[in-house]
């Protein structure tokens, strides 16, 4: 069984980002970049499926600037077998990414595509679902458990109010939620081995995809600063303030 895992290059979750002074974007000059944590979970799940003998090959793919090859290398160090980088300096948006993933799916015919449910930069939560629509593959999103057996994958999904299990025919798409697994860290020997694993590079044009952004960001602002709190005398005053001042109830 072949697994395709998508990994996105994002600002490291430890970094405190700030908007640029001209408000056009978030300032990410010289900040640490990492694999999106949900994508890390996706890689871990693929590697576990390989360790269980379910999967035979894991392909890690990233799309973005040349430096996104670092995230592909990290996925290789975590256990993926080979990498693909789709190199583009465009602001790649979910639809373009889904289209390019579709092109790779057609090339590679994976049995399973595992993606993070969303990336911690854009928080779009769209790519997996769009890929499902474009390829007509069944999808199990927000996975907290994944089991492959008898040519099918059963995915336990975290939904509002509880868990739902869907049983999908392969090939299928899975997007990962936080509780699916706890990713390992790359070992020293595997980091060194990753250097020698193959990585192919394409451009959006190679894949026949127009990656021009469709959505334009108008401005980026920091969240409003929290004001100092106040103490209320009793519940009645609290309810009154919530109703008439904050207007939240």
């Amino acid at each position: 069984m072949k697994i395709l895992v998508a990994v996105k290059r994002v600002v490291d979750y430890n970094v405190k980002v700030r908007p640029k002074s001209d408000g056009t974007d978030v300032d990410i000059a010289n900040v640490k970049m990492s694999i999106n944590p949900f994508c890390e979970i996706a890689v871990e799940e693929a590697v576990r499926l390989k360790e269980k003998g379910v999967a035979t090959e894991i392909i890690a793919i990233s799309m973005g600037p040349k430096q996104a090859q670092e995230q592909v290398r990290t996925a290789l160090a975590l256990g993926a077998d080979r990498g693909i980088l789709v190199e583009s300096d465009e602001d790649l948006q979910p639809l373009a990414i889904a289209k390019m993933l579709k092109a790779i799916v057609e090339k590679e015919s994976p049995d399973l595509v595992i993606l993070g449910k969303q990336a911690i930069d854009g928080d779009n939560n769209q790519t997996g679902q769009m890929l499902g629509a474009l390829t007509s593959m069944p999808q199990g999103t927000f996975a907290s458990e994944v089991n492959v057996a008898d040519g099918r994958v059963s995915v336990t999904r975290e939904i509002d109010g509880g868990l739902q299990t869907v049983n999908l025919s392969l090939p299928a798409i899975v997007t990962t939620d936080l509780r699916l697994n706890e990713p390992r860290y790359a070992s020293l020997p595997n980091i060194m081995k990753a250097k020698r694993k193959p990585m192919d590079t394409f451009t959006p044009e190679d894949l026949g995809v127009d990656a021009t952004p469709r959505v334009k960001t108008l401005s980026v602002e920091p969240p409003a600063e929290r004001k100092a709190g106040i103490k209320v005398a009793d519940v009645a005053e609290l309810v009154d303030k919530l109703k008439n001042e904050a207007k939240v109830i």
């Binding site: 990492s34 090859q69 670092e70 290398r73 990290t74 160090a77 860290y185 790359a186 070992s187 020293l188 020997p189 595997n190 980091i191 060194m192 990753a194 250097k195």
Partner: protein, 386 residues
């Protein structure tokens, strides 16, 4: 010159960072308070380090080590040093001297030490010979096929947990420039040898949970096959290790200082007095600026020295400068951190007092600051015949 890290180095640093945060930091307070590490915790850390391939990362790949250059080793040391020696000692860095192992010594000492089955310790210092290492008095006298060792060592780190010691002893003397000099030989001595008693040393202010020991040799017989390197060439074997070790101490100091720095910045941004964050006062923020500058300078000096070592162009003076500057910078930074934290800087609820205590040893071991100054100045003056 390229100052950026390779992709592999970045990944390695990420791994070590995660390892330290998850496997070591959660235990540091309890280990410090108890002045002890349980055997279970020690085994847990060792096993995890072996699993991650970090164990013996300083040794060549050909013998099962990490096969990393000194530059990359410094990057790892910098991260490990975010906690004290009590914990990161279990990510063992065996003595490089062991590469001098020959014949049966390779299977008996070198390889098991790299695999984590045996632990080594380094026994040079004696009560009457610290900075003046050439003044050691422990003697080894050939008797048939054995050497008979007599004398004592002190300040020997983790000897109580080690399986064997690399012991330096006087085996003769030679005339040089009209002066008589001791010939010193290195030996591999099993710690359960008859005639060797190992006793816990006094309690130390730095690195609680990481202990020094005293070794007493009373007619301790060691087969001649346990000579490490050549008879009378103990300093030749030691030199390699002692000099590289100084650069690793420097990297360690930078890591400790970085941790104190990060904690201090966050504290100064959040701690409010007189209605505002204390960091709003230049008296505080300028201190932060100086601390950060000291650390950056120590870091660059250390990494450049490690790089020189990799190129084969590092002098003893270079290594001395890195060790001297980084350990003195750490002293200043850790003391400043206590000041910025005020009373809380001295309380064992926060890591600051521990970093401050641990910092103190760095100006003493692996050659005191004064000895580094001696080495550096000697290199400057010697070409002038002074």
């Amino acid at each position: 010159m390229n100052f950026s890290l390779s992709n592999e180095q970045e990944m390695l640093v990420d791994t070590v960072k995660a390892f330290v945060e998850k496997e070591l930091i959660p235990y540091e307070a309890e280990v410090d308070a108890a002045d002890a590490v349980s055997p279970e915790l020690a085994a847990q850390i060792r096993n995890k380090a072996i699993e991650l391939g970090l164990y013996a990362f300083n040794m060549p790949e050909s013998v099962g080590g990490g096969g990393l250059d000194y530059f990359t080793q410094s990057l790892i040391e910098r991260e490990l040093a975010k906690v004290g020696w009590a914990l990161h000692v279990f990510v063992a860095r065996p003595s490089k001297i062991l590469m001098a192992c020959k014949g049966d010594q390779i299977e008996e000492y070198l390889l098991p030490t790299i695999r984590g089955e045996k632990i080594d310790c380094f026994a040079l210092t004696e009560p009457d010979a610290g900075s003046d290492a050439a003044g050691i008095r422990t003697k080894a006298v050939l008797d048939g096929d054995d050497y008979v060792i007599n004398g004592s060592k002190h300040f020997i780190s983790h000897a109580g947990h080690a399986d064997y010691s690399i012991v330096f002893a006087v085996t003769g003397s030679e005339e040089k420039n009209g002066r008589s000099r001791n010939q010193v030989t290195a030996f591999l001595v099993d710690n359960d040898s008859e005639g060797l008693v190992i006793r816990r040393g006094p309690k130390c202010v730095s690195n609680r949970g990481y202990h020094t020991y005293e070794l007493f040799f009373d007619n301790c017989r060691v087969p001649a096959s346990k000579v490490l390197g050549e008879v009378g060439k103990g300093w030749a074997v030691a030199n390699d290790w002692l000099v590289a070790g100084r650069v690793m101490v420097a990297a360690n100091c930078v890591g400790q200082a970085q941790r104190a720095m990060n904690l201090s910045v966050e504290w100064c941004a959040n701690r409010k007095q007189f209605g505002q964050a204390i960091g709003k006062n230049q008296g505080v923020s300028f201190k932060l600026a100086n601390m950060a500058t000291q650390i950056q300078a120590a870091d660059i000096l250390t990494l450049q020295t490690a790089w020189k070592m990799d190129q084969g162009t590092m002098s003893d003076g270079d290594a001395g400068m890195a060790k001297l500057f980084a350990s003195e910078a750490l002293a200043q930074v850790s003391d400043d951190s206590v000041q910025l934290f005020g009373g809380m800087g001295l309380m064992d609820e926060l890591p600051i007092e521990r970093i401050w205590r641990n910092a103190r040893i760095e100006r003493i071991w692996e050659g005191t600051s004064e000895i580094q100054q001696h080495i550096i100045s000697r290199e400057l003056l010697r070409p002038f015949g002074c």
